[in-house]
Amino acid sequence: MKKKRKIALVLIILCLGSLLGRALAQGGGELKFSIRMEPKTFDPLKVEDEASASIRYLTGGVLVRVNRQTQDLEPGLAQSWKVSKDGRQITFRLRSGISFSDGTPFSAGDVAYTIQQLMDPALHSPTGDAFRSGTGNVETKVISPTQISITFPAPVAGLDRLFDQVAVLSERSPRKEAAVLGPFMLADYKPGATVLLKRNPNYWKSDEQGRKLPYLDSIRLDIQPNRDVEMLHFKRGELDLINALDSEYFDKLEATSPQLVHDAGPSLDSEQLWFNEVAKAPIPGYKKNWFRSANFRRAISEAINREDLSRIVFHGHAQPAAGPFSPANKFWFNSKLKPQAYSPDAALKALESDGFRLENGVLKDKDGNEVVFSIISNAGSKTRERMAVLIQDDLQKIGIHVNVVTLDFPSLIERMTQSFDYEAIILGLTNVDLDPNGEMNVWLSSAENHQWNPQQKTPETSWEAEIDRLMRAQASSTDLKRRKEAFDRVQEIVVEEQPFIFLINKNALSVASTVLHGAAPVILWPQTFWNAERLTVSTK
């Protein structure tokens, strides 16, 4: 009798032990980090800002996923896919047996519904507009519950990779956007304070050992716009990671705990300076002549010490930029391009050939006007302000007087896009995707975001006409080699004519605390939590 009891007891303990073990193994902890502003929307189709995009990345289920580490396209909800030769049609074969977070079953009908919502002309979202290559309707055909084909009116470059941004919504669920297919789901939202995401029990993915993903129990997103306060919270252990860390803080943390910080090398982000080349701009005519001369722009580019910008403003965590794309974009970067070398003497010579003369330390143009112009930038960016002051000092050495003005962002945007009342601007471009087709609206001379001279009715220079031709060619081609040739030529033209004077490419800096396991920060956004489903946080 005693022996049976002992055995029973041991069995019970073993059972409890294994249950406890499984519970412990399942519990991956809670990940805490900050988002820098209030999310504007929880509807994945309307996402425009980074905070909403972060929530979409963590909660949305996508058909295909760009692996942020290898930069390759991986199957997601779709097991396989095929893009037609003309680039207009894509067919997905979907996984079966998947449900949304509220239990509603997932099928091809949901994908069709999502695409129809996304392509609604009244939607006006960046995600939807990326697919809009031509006018006409997008047709979805549900071939079977696990097969769907989508046909676009015109070829879409890089069609398959674009679906990384499309989170599938449920057609039938009563909970609408709240029903998700991603690893986490929205649990609580305190406006101005936190967003709480909990594990999605119906997430379809499991790891190689068959354990269900995600490991984490929950993710807490703190809404904190101020970097200094964010750093304070991290140091106190209230946050587990920081994305896009400032280089000053990186150095300080590296001094005390080098194992926590990570410099993933140059990111896709660039900082650039450009001059106002708009014909109807309310600036003096002689200044317009300077800015519209490629020789002048090239000379300015040569007179800027990019090494000092990287070293002083970014503490070495940046590299001089060679052109519009960063070398981090391995496939699309034109590797023949090199960053402009610093040479104030060559700059002065180039200016002299245009009729400029240096008199008593002041540079004057051929009509005797002193070369004075202003550089504006947005307030609140210490790095841009410092870069502007360094450039002010660099240009002073060749006799150019620069006034640095920081303005609040809306005033800046108004000057840049409506009144064109500015002379030079320093701003940055944050690139989220690798494909240059996403930047059509920057390089086309008729487009809105062709910052130095937007919305031209016809291209005003021959090189802008050439860029238009090349960009349209790469947009309508599906042959990657042909597209790369075209865009390589675009990059070369941009470096020759310098409409944007590209300054530096920032490094992707991040930090992760010791309790966070599995983090492998990369260059592509979202850098540190791209593999959120495999992260765990241990309790101290």
Binding site: M37, E38, K40, T41, E48, P121, H124, S125, P126, T127, D129, A130, R132, K190, P191, G192, A193, D222, I223, Q224, P225, N226, D228, V229, L232, D408, F409, P410, S411, L412, I413, E414, R415, T417, Q418, S419, G438, E439, M440, N441, V442, A447, E448, N449
Partner: protein, 288 residues
């Protein structure tokens, strides 16, 4: 007499409120960047989308129309929708106002208690060393930027109301000290002391009625100072109140939200100052 005075105040209050709302709308509308939307810089947006963004912003161009429709809605309880946050303003304010009001009440309370006790002590004791010390302390806090005080409060894990108290305290202390010192050195107080009247009696029957109107006016004004201090404190301490909302709204040129917040701030200021006026009158009435 008092009733008609209060009625007069109420009428003036409403008129000032309406004027304040309109003036703030004018200021926002005339400032550059009214039409600008950060989203239009996104290269993924097509030409139609950017145009749609611009058209949406231009709806509020005509101020009179905007204000008129806003007033119409406000009468029914609809305070408009925030452009930046795409939520009804009423919900936003209802969620955030209690926190800000609590923050202000605590901060102001602390500041006044500290200022009055120190000022009274200074007036009573008349020790120059003590006076000098309080001057140095209050002067130092006056010279520290509000943002730095807010960051310090995050660093030392003290509540935001303490930061607000420290920002407002030096302003109150100086005035209060001067008023009390002057009052205590006036002839009839000296006479009263010489006659042997108790300190408490002197304070409540002679000093307070003299300085009350001015201190009350100061109290009203300190409310505005606290409201101004609440903006950086809330933003940096991560407190989701109206101050944080105000800053976001200003940066995004969110006209509906800004007009509502200005009206709220004007209302609070007017109530505080009118209240101070009325109480001052009552005290003066009692005295005579």
């Amino acid at each position: 007499m008092l009733k008609s005075r209060i009625a007069g105040h109420a009428l003036a209050l409403v008129a000032t409120l309406l004027l304040g709302g309109f003036l703030s709308a004018t200021l926002v509308r005339l400032a550059p960047g009214f039409d600008a939307d950060e989203q239009q810089l996104d290269p993924h947006l097509g030409a139609e989308s950017v145009q749609a963004l611009r058209t949406a912003r231009q709806q509020d161009h005509n101020l009179w129309r905007f204000y008129f429709s806003y007033m119409k809605g406000a009468v029914h309880g609809d305070l408009g929708t925030s452009l930046a946050l795409a939520q009804p303003v009423r919900t936003l304010l209802r969620e955030r106002a209690p926190l800000t009001l609590r923050l202000l009440a605590l901060g102001l309370g602390l500041a006044w208690v500290a200022a009055l006790s120190l000022a009274l002590t200074a007036a009573w004791l008349r020790i120059s060393a003590f006076d000098a010390l309080t001057i140095v302390v209050s002067g130092t806090f006056l010279c520290i930027p509000a943002a730095v005080l807010a960051l310090l409060s995050v660093l030392w894990n003290v509540p935001g109301s303490l930061a607000i108290a420290l920002i407002v305290f030096p302003h109150i202390y100086r005035y209060a000290r001067n008023l009390l010192v002057k009052s205590y050195s006036s002839p009839h107080i000296i006479t009263a002391r010489a006659k042997g009247l108790g300190e408490a009696r002197i304070l409540f029957w002679h000093v307070v009625p003299t300085v009350a109107p001015q201190l009350l006016a100061l109290a009203g004004v300190s409310v505005s100072m606290a409201v101004g201090a609440a903006i950086p404190v809330e933003a940096l301490c991560g407190l989701p109140g109206v101050g944080q909302l105000a800053w976001q709204a200003a940066m995004a040129r969110d006209l509906p939200l800004l007009v509502n917040i200005t009206l709220l701030v004007t209302l609070v200021t007017l109530l505080a100052n009118s209240g101070a006026d009325v109480i001052g009158l009552m005290v003066r009435g009692q005295k005579s």
